[in-house]
């Protein structure tokens, strides 16, 4: 068995095919100052589905991910992963943040190994092997003993991705992970994200305000309303996989989707302006 770098994977590491169901059931959430963010919001992600939540700023994207990961609790309604209420430390859950949030005092390998170490999974040797395996998957096994500040922003975000993947989560939450990167790096990482997802097969909930990124990645794009609200509309992206930057982004269908989503976003913003 080989990965894209042509490296032979250890036999002890079968390709993982676990995916979770995420169910958001009519949640309500307001901030203590009375600002209402979600009203009767429901959404379900099927096992292995790649869902992209798309919305202009102010639609409560980050609040939603805080709720999805259990850092904040909804006032009412439930959020469950495979039927169990979410908690930040639950092993099914992987999280990639807007900024890499690596531990600057640990080298790249130790950053990726951190979760396995904390959860005391596997022996020390196996932890290192697994961390190296996922570093190789994001193409950074050569940088294992570098410190985070020695890497570019894009490389740091790859390490962050490897760190989340090393725990083999069944649900991966990605909170605008590539928003701070330049367009070229972002496109490359979009492609890599899809490649990793097709290999590992977990459920992904990805948040972005970038329309092209949303179309390129998603099985289903969910357009969010500006708070207080929920879902404005959904759009299934019916573009064949595997997708590539050169092939996919120029397809007439890709451009149709882009136009459709731009109209939806304009509608969301316009609806909000008329309220003001």
């Amino acid at each position: 068995m080989t990965n894209h770098n042509g490296l032979t994977m250890a036999n002890s590491q079968p390709v993982q095919r676990v995916a979770a169901t995420l169910a958001i059931d009519s949640i309500n959430f307001s901030y203590p100052n009375g600002h209402e963010v979600f009203r009767a919001f429901s959404l379900e992600a099927k096992p292995g589905e790649f869902i992209v939540l798309l919305g202009p700023s102010g639609c409560g994207k980050t609040t939603l991910l805080n709720l999805l990961s259990g850092f904040q609790k909804p006032a009412s309604g439930t959020i469950t992963i495979n039927g169990a209420p979410v908690r930040p430390e639950m092993p099914e859950l992987g999280y990639v943040f807007q900024s890499p949030q690596l531990f600057p005092w640990l080298n790249v390998l130790e950053n990726v190994r951190f979760g396995l170490r904390m959860q005391n999974r596997l022996s020390a040797k196996e932890q290192t092997e697994k961390a190296l395996h996922y570093l190789a998957l994001v193409g950074l096994d050569q940088a294992a003993d570098k410190l985070p500040y020695q890497l570019s922003g894009g490389m740091q975000q790859r390490v962050s991705l490897a760190r989340a993947l090393a725990l083999e989560p069944a649900l991966l939450l990605m909170d605008e992970p590539f928003a701070a990167l330049d367009a070229i790096t972002r496109n490359n990482l979009n492609e890599e994200t899809l490649r990793l997802w097709s290999e590992l097969g977990q459920t992904v909930v990805f948040i972005t305000h970038d329309i092209d990124e949303a179309i390129f990645l998603a099985d289903r794009v969910v357009v969010l309303e500006i708070a207080p609200g929920g879902i404005h509309s959904e759009l299934a992206i019916d573009i064949l996989r595997p997708r590539s930057n050169l092939g996919t982004r120029k397809l007439p269908r890709f451009i149709e989707y882009r136009t459709a989503l731009m109209e939806k976003i304009a509608d969301v913003v316009h609806a909000n302006l008329s309220v003001l």
Binding site: E89, Q101, M118, L167
Partner: protein
Amino acid sequence: MMRRLDKFNWGWASLPFLLLCWVLVASRFPSYILPQPWEVMAEAQRWIADGSLLQHLKASLLEEAGGFALATLVALLLGTTAGLFRRFRDFISPLNSLFMAIPPVAWAPLTMIIFGLGYWSIVMVIFIAAVFPMAITMQEGIQSIRNGEVRAARTLGATPLQMIVHVYMPASLPFFTAALRIGFSQAWRALVAAEMIGASKGIGWMVSMGGQIGNTNQVLLGIVIIGLIAWLMESLVFKRLEKHYQTWRAH
């Protein structure tokens, strides 16, 4: 030629320059007012030969060690608590500002009345001098830990105890070593001042006694040793310690 001059570290020239100035200025004065460096060296040999220098140095270093260790322990407790809990921080910060505004040596007459002349009265002055700036630096260290790192560690499954050992402690280590450096130098300054006011031994006593009996050799010898100890600790111990933990911090 220019390139060589650019590469030359001019820091090494400062000490010879200072010595040269000393020699030049001292040549204008009789030696009982301002002695030459070599006369101070001769004085040093006398103090070393009869063992009294070692004795005074030992007394000062023991006081420094006691006061500094006590201050480190208390500052660790105060700084960590203030860093973690906002209410305690609000409560303690006016006290911190108040005590930092008072020159530590002003406490010396009081500690000498309470503890008597000797070891503990000086240790208390050192303690007061070092504990507040150290506590504030440690508090800043705890506060500087980014929420994002804490969150990341939680999603990776760290328990509260693991958070302390694997996130809070390593993240605040650079501040901790900075606090040690600040505390040591504050303690050392206060020590010398306190010894000059009321002590029967120590480097500070050496300087003030030299002044009283008109032995300028002894005064200058004391000053050189005070500077030497501070410089040795600063550049050989604390700067290295700090540098070791700060490679990642500047970025």
